[in-house]
């Protein structure tokens, strides 16, 4: 396998059949050296980066902070007490005229050396708490799934804008030409659909490539021509046509780039399936993720594939759990959080362990988040569910450049509002970009006559969590 983040070395493409040189004569390579031709060419960060890749774990539907990462003993003692305020989810909603505090359904305990309290909902992640920087003062600008999911991914709560993965790809390019720079592993469509990984006005090369577990994880990846030999014949013929065409048009970088992209595509045909092939992973590794040999779906599969992609230089890998249905949106019964937590808890802890073991933890940033939290109250205290809550939730960062075993910020005594050192989604984004060596105020793109940013006109890097 090609070494990680080394400059692209040519793969053993068509060499036997075309002797390589036909596709990529020296002149072509020179032409391609021009920066403008290749939007994914690796670029220098604004300042030395701590992280080279991001694994973005997105829990769809809204994870309850007060049941998982944000212990609120007062919420238990004040269970059933009435509270009064205008909340976006309960205002003018019939049956929600009165609101009562509702105690957490999981017990918290100090974990690890840091003693950070995490509930029994995530026993395995809890065992890794000394590796993470937990932010308990997250807040966001909208309480609808669609808007909040859009906001968490694009910084915009109302309009179509490029995804954070696209921004990172645009800012840094990618070292492995045979794989996309931004990949999304999701078996289901999330809220806001493809908008979650769209490049919008950024060049299309920065769009997230969705990997759907199954027979054809990426569109048009499977060779349609009967044999590899025949495909090579076709590609050789194509190379010959293009070469003849180009001879009359020397020095046209545009044409050269297009010739090159067939080589990349050919490389992807084999590299992508190889990245998704877990057969060479040891039992021990599979065990870390709670995976059985042969499994090709589930969050454990997503997590292990994420490690393999990051290993191969993919810049930004997002894992979505689960999508826009059957997710963390536990209005009816919070007990459902337990079922969902079981699906992700071991895989995520396994991922951290595996990254540490392989040394990848030193240059990979792991982000865990959701679109918003859940209400620490409801219309009756014994209502089994919790509603959407954008005033406060918990997220965490781990890995490259991130302090280990710390808590940043706090909510009030009942977990209702992010009170101490609040971190808005824009601040969260600014921090992620910062760890990638990007200044969120300088990572701009001119579109429609305006310079756009991921963080719009907002965002402050959360310096407290930086190592």
């Amino acid at each position: 396998m090609q070494s990680r983040f080394s400059s692209t070395t040519r793969r053993g493409f068509v060499q036997s059949a075309v002797a390589g040189s036909l596709l990529m004569p020296g002149l072509l390579s020179e032409l391609l050296a021009q920066d403008s031709i290749d939007p994914l060419k690796p670029r220098s960060p604004h300042f030395p980066a701590k992280a080279k890749s991001v694994i973005f774990l997105f829990m769809s539907g809204g994870v309850s902070h007060v049941d998982s990462f944000d212990p609120k003993p007062k919420l238990t003692t004040d269970h059933g007490k009435q509270v009064t305020f205008d909340h976006p989810e309960t205002k003018n909603r019939p049956g929600y005229e009165k609101l009562f505090l509702k105690k957490p359904g999981w017990t918290f305990a100090p974990r690890g050396k840091s003693g950070i309290e995490v509930s029994e909902m995530f026993p395995n992640i809890a065992s890794k708490v000394d590796d993470i920087a937990l932010i308990r003062s997250m807040h966001t600008s909208h309480s609808n799934h669609f808007n909040a999911t859009l906001g968490m991914h694009t910084g915009s709560f109302a309009f179509a804008r490029p995804s954070i993965g696209s921004w990172v790809s645009y800012g840094l390019g990618t070292p492995n030409k045979n794989l996309p720079s931004f990949m999304v592993l999701s078996s289901e469509m999330p809220y806001a659909g493809t908008q979650v990984w769209a490049s919008d006005f950024l060049p299309g090369a920065h769009q997230g490539t969705r990997v759907v577990p199954g027979s054809e994880p990426v569109a048009n990846l499977k060779r349609r021509v009967a044999t590899e030999g025949q495909q090579k014949l076709e590609l050789n013929a194509l190379a010959a046509f293009n070469e003849a065409h180009r001879t009359a048009r020397p020095e046209e970088a545009q044409l050269a780039a297009r010739i090159k992209s067939f080589e990349t595509a050919f490389g992807m045909q084999s590299e992508m399936p190889a990245a998704l092939d877990l057969s060479k992973e040891s039992e021990a590794t599979l065990g870390l993720y709670g995976l059985k040999r042969g499994e090709t779906s589930g969050f454990g599969w997503q997590c292990l594939v994420a490690r393999r992609l990051v290993e191969r230089g993919v810049r930004f890998v997002e894992l979505i759990h689960t999508g826009s249905s059957g997710n963390w949106d536990s209005h009816g019964n919070m007990a459902d959080h337990g079922r969902l937590a079981k699906q992700v808890d071991q895989p995520i802890a396994g991922l951290i362990e595996d990254l540490k073991r392989t040394g990848l933890f030193d240059d990979t940033l792991v982000v865990w988040t959701t679109e918003f939290g859940r209400t620490p109250f409801n219309n009756t205290a014994d209502n089994l569910g919790r509603e959407h809550h954008n005033w406060a939730f918990s997220s965490w960062l781990a890995g490259a450049g991130v302090k280990r075993g710390v808590v940043h910020g706090a909510t009030d005594e009942h977990g209702i509002r992010a009170e101490e050192k609040p971190v808005h989604v824009h601040d969260f984004h600014a921090t992620i970009l910062h760890l990638m060596g990007l200044d969120h105020t300088k990572l701009t793109y001119r579109h429609g006559g305006r310079d756009y940013r991921l963080t719009d006109v907002h965002g402050n890097v959360v310096k407290d969590v930086l190592a």
Partner: protein, 1019 residues
Amino acid sequence: MSGRFRLLSAFVIVTSLLFSHVASAIEPSDAAGFKFFEDRVRPLLTEFCFSCHGATKQKGGLRLDSRAHAIKGGEIGPAIVPGDSSTGLMLKAVAYDGELKMPPKGKLTARQIADLTAWVKMGSPWPTDSASLVADPMNMPATKAGDHWSFLSFRESTPPRVNDEKWVRNPIDRFVLSKLTEKNLKTAPQADKRTLIRRATFDLLGLPPTPEEVEAFLRDDSSEAFAKLIDRLLASPQYGERWGRHWLDVARYADSNGMDENLSHANAWRYRDWVIRAFNSDMPFDRFVKLQLAGDLLIPDSPEGFVPTGFMMIGPKMLAEDDPVKMQMDIIDEQLDTLGQAFLGLTLGCARCHDHKFDPITAHDYYALAGILKSTKTMDNFNVVAKWQERPLADPAVAAKARTHDELIAATKKEIVSREGEGKKKLLAEARERIADYLATAEEVRKGRRASVSLMTGGKPPDGTLTVEAEDFQRGNVLKDREHYGKGIGVLVNAGPLPNFAEYDLTIPADGIYVLEIRYAAADPRPVRVLLDGKYLEDSAGRTTGGWFADKQSWDLGPVVTLKKGKAILRLERAGPFPHIDKLALVPLPPGQSAPVRPADLAVARKLVPVFLNQWVAHLDRLGKAPEGDALKKLAEAKDGPFAIPTPIDPLLAPEAASELKVLREKFARLEKERPVLPMAMAVSEGKPENLKIHLRGNHLTLGAEASRGFPTVLALPSQQSVDLKKSGRKELAEWITRPDHPLTARVAVNRLWTWHFGDGLVRTPDNFGRLGDSPVHRELLDWLASRFVKEGWSVKAMHRLIMLSATYQMSAAHDPATELKDPENRLHWRWPRQRLDAESFRDALLSVGGNLDKTPGGSLLTISNRAYVTSTANRNYDGYNSDRRSVYLPVVRSAGYEPFQAFDFPDPSVTKGRRAVTNVPAQSLLLMNSKLVAEQTRRLADRLIARPGDDASRINFAYELLFSRPASTIESSRAIEFVTQYEKAAMSEKLEAAEAKRRAWQGLCRALLSSNEFMYVE
């Protein structure tokens, strides 16, 4: 009056108006004060204060970017008190002698402090306080930007003289050649005829020329040959499909809403087809613009008028926004932003929250325009999942008939509701008479139940009890849910198809009398029919248990049956969805024990309504004991009390009333089914005329001064018609935008045409002519074209002829290293800019050479009914793209676009896009190598070639003619033959039949040819 002077005077008027307005608010009001502020104070504030106390950040709650904010101050008090240099905190802070020291990085100079002090003493004069909204004073104050080139009227210039008169074909070339000569750049030679016909045909039709067309053009050696070709292409119906599609990029056309509620716009295509027709009929562009903005007012009560206003309708909307006021303002913003960019090249949206940072558009201007749209009806309502407006296209008679039909439906519905009401009233009156009977019977039931052996009491079931998990049915169409309704329990839930049913093959352990008991949860009454060995016993599980979840699961008694040892089939069924059934049990009655009292039996015996009795039991269970006096009365009258009536009420009614109601329901269903489907179009109409107040920072909860409807001040035109405030103002808006002397509209339009011909515009930001847009290198040419466009009656086809007949258009793409060095971007047009086929041309060309392109015009291919979800939020994507029609007719589904189009840079249909990106990504190569589309089309093309008479060389020649509009050279031909032979041999080794191997080989050749740069680029 010259444009320059006119706009300057406009500027003076605006400025003085502004100043006098402000002047009334502050003392003293002399211009010297403003000058002092601008020269001495604003620079200080900008340098030292705004980064923490400006529009972006407000440390300590303080903003210093407007006078009002400074006076208001922050958390600890006012920053300035105009006229008083001893109290405001700003002067204290800059003095650096107390706790508060500002700016934090170091004390200001004495001179700077003195300036601030003097300014405060002066009364803190501060111009443009029109808005606490001036976002960023670092940028040019709004009104000063009025002299930006695109806001000034066209510069009338004569096409310049040039040295090489022979090169010039029309005036465009004079402008181009003169600039090239000036820079000492060489022009590329004239393109050959084959190149020209391929270029012109792809350009005007989005299709390759046929070999016959190429042949005919080559044969025509008259000097008019190219002009005749252009005329032929412009007369083709395919022209409107190509150029209409260009406009649809600008109009952010889509067949679905996108955003949170991706509902189908099943009637949007009428606007699309109108656009195509408008291009084909060469509708004057000013008319084209006017109809899209105010067609309903210009041609009242006619689809010809309102269909074009679909332009205003088809934007993406947050249809589930909870706040209706915000939703409306967001929709208006989207409309305004689109029309601003589409027609004026102005990013008006920026002024929603503050004066435009870069262009002379104030927040006041924005809300003056927004008021026009606020007075226009776009939506039927702003409910959660709001409804956009559609208008019927049918002739009045048909529409009237439909209305009558709708009235009949409404009347029937009313009758049903009234019958239900009567029935309910009667039922309740009777029931309330017998409260005491209900109470007593309910108590009896409860008592009997306690004494019974049943599982309801939580006791241990007697020996011989047969318990079955509900989800272990042998046959059924209900879903088993083991995850969502409680830990460790599986329940039955509805799978969609009705009636629901589940069947169990039971083995009865011994002869005896059994009570069937069912454990379930239900928030609504959902009685199931119980059948044993095909025989109906009775309805059971009809109570509500208070919820759907595990905590509300409870046992209920069902029928008592006598059973023989051996097999029995138990069937549960319901016309509607099932309650959440967890378990079933057959509990044997011990000898001597009487059957438990069943509410149903008691109810029948005492002429009580069984549902009511069940509910009484449930309520008494909840309360523990029967309430008395007022509490009892209250309970009996409570909406969700024991006399709550289930829906439908029919089974509770007297047979006669029930059958009457049944007839009415059937009539209603029939009428609904027969409802005539009127052809509809998404269209606006006039709303309630009203002005908007300025929304501070774009927030509708913080309102400022009212902005009377009108047009941006900086673009005021002489003797301009003002808005008739009794109407929306859209008509005047349309008139204003399309005035011949409007400095933007014609320029933006001709620049768009130029962009679509050459791949890039004279202004390279076709949607932004503001200060952040590109400046034209060829300003004179742009102005000359714009003015000629207007003079020639805004004819788009005339512009095509003009542009395409120029020598500039007809140059070859030949490269010249020296020239390239000086003008690498070809901004001065020294050669033809080679262009990659766009998404639609690529697909249409594939279909065209494959011989299966269906040229039927118009109509809808969308497979989803109107306002239905095109993509559910679940894992389903729209996939109704299977068609041989031209690409412009394929549905444009937001966030679920056609994959080959996505790969080839089809723009995001949510925003205006005057120039598409052209990317080169591996996804495109993969698509050519491995997609079904390319496989199918190359197979068709291969078949077409194989079927041709003649030898392989002539086949290959035909392929080259089809794809590249030129014959194959001898070498190319022999190489291709060699390829086919080699490929065939390789395929034969797979043990394929000879015919199939041949087909594969030719398909392989076609795929390579279609993937080549020569095919993908137009030169």
